[in-house]
Amino acid sequence: MASTALRGRARGEERQLAWRRIAWPLIVYSVLTALAVLTLIPIVWMVLTAFKSAPEVAASPPTWIPREWHPENFQAAWEFAPFGRYLLNTAFMAGTIMVLEVLTSALAAYAFARLRFKGRDVLFLIYLGTLMIPRQVTLIPSFLLMRELHWIDTYQGLIIPQAFSAFGTFLLRQFFLTIPYELEDAARIDGASRFGCFWRIILPLSGPALATLAVFIFLFQWNNLLWPLVISNTDGTRPIAVGLRKFLASTAPTGTC
């Protein structure tokens, strides 16, 4: 009797093992594959359509694989809008903002995290307060300020107002607070200056935090539309997100405008 019970339990475990090894992964894979296909459809369709002729793009029903391949579409698009310039503008804008913001945020964060000075808490509260105010609130006054400075349609108009964020300062301050004080004290006793401590101890220890902030800023600026839309009026300063709107008129299929 005891042996049959044991055998029954073994069979149950076998069934459970089969479920865990085969059935469950199969279910997970099928669901994931279905979702991945849905996610990829717009991207794949975009890439394939880029090679189609104009009549085929408007064909009904739509085709997946181009009947004829037209790689010259890319050249036409490249010539339709000054893409090289857009990319250069975007890279310059996003890159400069990234460097400026990481550097100045790190310096300020060090002061907030490590130094005692008059007005520290008030200033930090002001930083935190503006963090809660959406960018759109300052859109109009910032634009008017740019107009006063004659910075409309300039690189400095695109870059400078976006380069000093409370976000970066706050993020890095929180990270600097986790670095042990002892390291700096040792360096101070060995004669390092405040800036030496910051440059040789705090910064090298903050690689991951600095990199995270840099990636955040770059991605945000690469995708940023609202502020460049307001500031850039010519192709000379237009970043890619604004420049792409040129294709709105030409790509609008009839009936969506």
Binding site: P42, T49, I126, L177, L226, A241, L244
Partner: protein
């Protein structure tokens, strides 16, 4: 050394200042602090704090950039709240967008994170695929989706026709334009939520699941009583960030429909943009921006209040 260990950020600094020997303290700490701060603080005060103050003043003025600004008290707010039907529409559209897109995007992100949080071969490939839409430029994919949504030629309605559904006219329909924008937004954002949820899931200690299994909990019970409560701080973060971000929706609405048809997809930020830079009512736009801020603030506060009920902290 009698120096105390850093306890909390606030007291640690204070304890240090007093514990430090005199020769270390005499180095103009305040001066060097201001030097460290200057590059950021000067830029920050001029380009962030000053515009905030200016926006506060501007909201009480009537100014079209050409004639001088005229103080009109609360008139801008009165017009926005009581008279302007377009503002009310933008308000309701934005609420609609937030109410539908945030739960769906967060829910899908959580579901996909649960599926992707398993030790299966090739799972990183799936994770990368789901994150792909997030790293694309919104303007670019919005242009592509305009095509997908075309009533006759678009891929979506043609796919729907395959299964016998007569698709709506999406972006040209007052009723379906907003759902179309929401669908694009979910497609673009759920991968980001997935990453956040994955990080949260991987922080849940394995022992909790083992203990629950020993106590006889089945898979559903483990999910309901271990995963969900342990994940609630992450969920809270995702919900807060998504709500704040969604109230500021702009790019998709501008590119796909420019607020139309009629005002069916005019969001609050699009309204602010149009009032400021198309009708040049600077004070009016600033007032609308403050109302947007109040809405976001109220929702964030409600969330923080409500978190006591459902967020579990260790």
């Amino acid at each position: 050394m009698a120096r105390s260990l850093p306890t909390t950020p606030a007291t640690a600094g204070a304890a240090r200042a007093y514990a430090r020997p005199g020769w270390l303290r005499r180095d103009h700490e305040t001066l060097s602090a201001y030097l460290f701060l200057a590059p950021n603080a000067i830029g920050f005060l001029i380009f962030s704090a000053l515009p905030v103050l200016a926006a506060l003043v501007l909201a009480f003025y009537d100014w079209d950039l050409l004639l001088g600004a005229k103080f009109i008290g609360l008139e801008n707010f009165r017009r926005l709240l009581l008279e302007d039907a377009n503002f009310r529409a933008a308000f309701l559209n934005t609420f609609y967008f937030v109410a539908v897109s945030v739960p769906l995007s967060a829910g899908l992100g959580l579901a996909v994170a649960l599926l992707c949080n398993q030790a299966l071969r090739g799972i990183t490939l799936f994770r990368s695929i789901f994150l792909l839409p997030y790293v694309t430029i919104t303007v670019a994919v919005a242009l592509v989706w305009r095509w997908l949504y075309h009533p006759d030629l678009g891929l979506i309605n043609n796919l729907l026709a395959l299964v016998g559904i007569d698709g709506p006219s999406w972006l040209v329909s007052t009723r379906w334009a907003m759902p179309a924008i929401i669908l694009l937004t979910i497609w673009k954002s759920f991968g980001y939520n997935m990453v956040l949820f994955l990080a949260g899931l991987q922080g849940i200690p394995e022992q909790l699941y083992e203990a629950a299994t020993i106590d006889g909990a089945n898979a559903w019970q483990r999910f309901r009583h271990v995963t969900l409560p342990m994940l609630s701080p992450t969920t809270f973060f995702v919900v807060i960030i998504s709500i704040i971000g969604s109230f500021q929706v702009f790019d998709q609405a501008l590119v796909m429909t420019n607020g139309g048809p009629g005002v069916a997809t005019t969001t609050l930020v699009l309204f602010i943009y149009q009032a400021g830079f198309q009708s040049f009512q600077m004070g009016y736009a600033a007032a609308a921006a403050w109302l947007l801020f109040v809405v976001i603030m109220v929702f964030t506060l409600i969330q923080f209040r409500a978190q006591r009920r459902w967020v579990t902290y260790e």
